[in-house]
Symmetry: C2
Subunit: 214 residues, 2 copies
DNA sequence: ACCTGAACACCGTTCAAGT
DNA sequence: ACCTGAACACCGTTCAAGT
């Protein structure tokens, strides 16, 4: 439990440890005292490098957005949109705590504005009017957030052993009352999250393409 | 602060009060002690009617799903899907705490399975294969969750005075670095959430229609 | 049967004291 | 400059005691 790391404390190291702790024990279990323990230090020492717990949580959100990485704008807007959306979905779905955390904090960091600026810029350059470009942004953003939500936070999305067992239990329980649920049960249990995400993205990007003003 | 209501405590009344409290003060501020105070009772009395705080939070999620209401299946699958998706989005977007709360608790209640069963049943009856029906469910669900997220939890989504001011501040700050953001600023500030949601839903439902197997 | 007060094991955070 | 111990105002929850 007590790591014996003796590198000096920094904001980055604290946030890194917080991410690891939340991955393992869940974000609700994250406390200043436990985080200090992991870093081999008293809780109060953290305040020398960080403004408080809120600052740590902000840092974790920043960490999530940094995980999206730079966006390659070499192709056309559809290629860029697909790459950016997929990278964002993967960055969020990689941590169970990502969606709940983002949803209680402000998502409007420089990183998120940067992605938005690139995406809308490519649409405008391709001949879209600002209003349609704005619509397109919202639809894509909904898909990314909504799918990350489903992948990381529903029993059918998570693919650990415990989630599988719970999912099977639920399907047994509700399968008799809800026959149509039973009819798609195998897909719920076994669908590829990447294929599933791309399927919806295909629909959305084609729809946006079809709505390009003449 | 202390309401003088003297009706007997019940689970429903406690959950109702919790919803109202979270609406006003945010879900993080919700505690057993403060909830007791609102109900004119000591915190410990709540345990006579409720298993604990988790039980209250579960009740709040149940309350959200109940708010979606019964689904009218009189029209074709697209009409039903639009009605159900819109009702769900509105129920979730009505409370800032809805998305964060659902995202940390299990969403697989009888209510959510019921909606899913109806939707998939209509698609199957219309001639869709189970795999495509399952895809359709995921895409629609992402849009609902993702848009509720954006409407209730982003500065641009919320339409109270404080959010407007923060949004304008952010646009001033980042508008110079990100010109394409500035180009769509007025739409971000003033778009109709219902029209925006329907725009994306149009794309998604049309796309699903186009993928109906021959 | 329902409510309460005191208590326990936890929180985040402040602050004076140490080195 | 950085770390610490004690303290404060909060948590959720248990339990024996009241009515």
């Amino acid at each position: 439990m007590t790591t014996t790391e003796r590198r000096p404390l920094t904001r980055e190291r604290i946030i890194e440890a917080a991410v690891a702790f939340a991955d393992e024990h869940g974000i609700d279990a994250l406390s200043m005292r436990k985080l200090g323990q992991v870093l081999g230090v008293e809780a109060m020492s953290l305040y020398n490098h960080v403004a408080g717990k809120d600052d740590i949580l902000d840092g974790m959100v920043q960490h999530l957005f940094a995980g999206i990485g730079p966006i390659d704008t070499a192709g056309d807007w559809k290629v860029t949109a697909r790459a950016a959306a997929t990278a964002a979905k993967n960055a969020f779905a990689a941590h169970e705590w990502a969606v709940p955390l983002i949803s209680t904090r402000e998502t409007t960091s420089e990183a998120s504005f940067g992605i938005m600026d690139v995406m809308i810029g490519m649409l405008l350059a391709d001949g879209y009017d600002p209003e349609t470009a704005h619509h397109a942004w919202h639809v894509i953003a909904s898909h990314v957030l909504g799918y990350a939500f489903q992948e990381a936070n529903s029993v059918f999305g998570r693919r650990d052993d415990q989630a599988r067992e719970e999912a099977e239990q639920l399907l047994r329980e509700y399968g008799r009352i809800f026959p149509n649920l039973a009819a798609v049960a195998t897909y719920l249990m076994e669908c590829s999250h990447d294929e599933e995400f791309q399927y919806g993205l295909d629909i959305i990007l084609s729809g946006i393409e079809a709505r390009k003003p003449a």
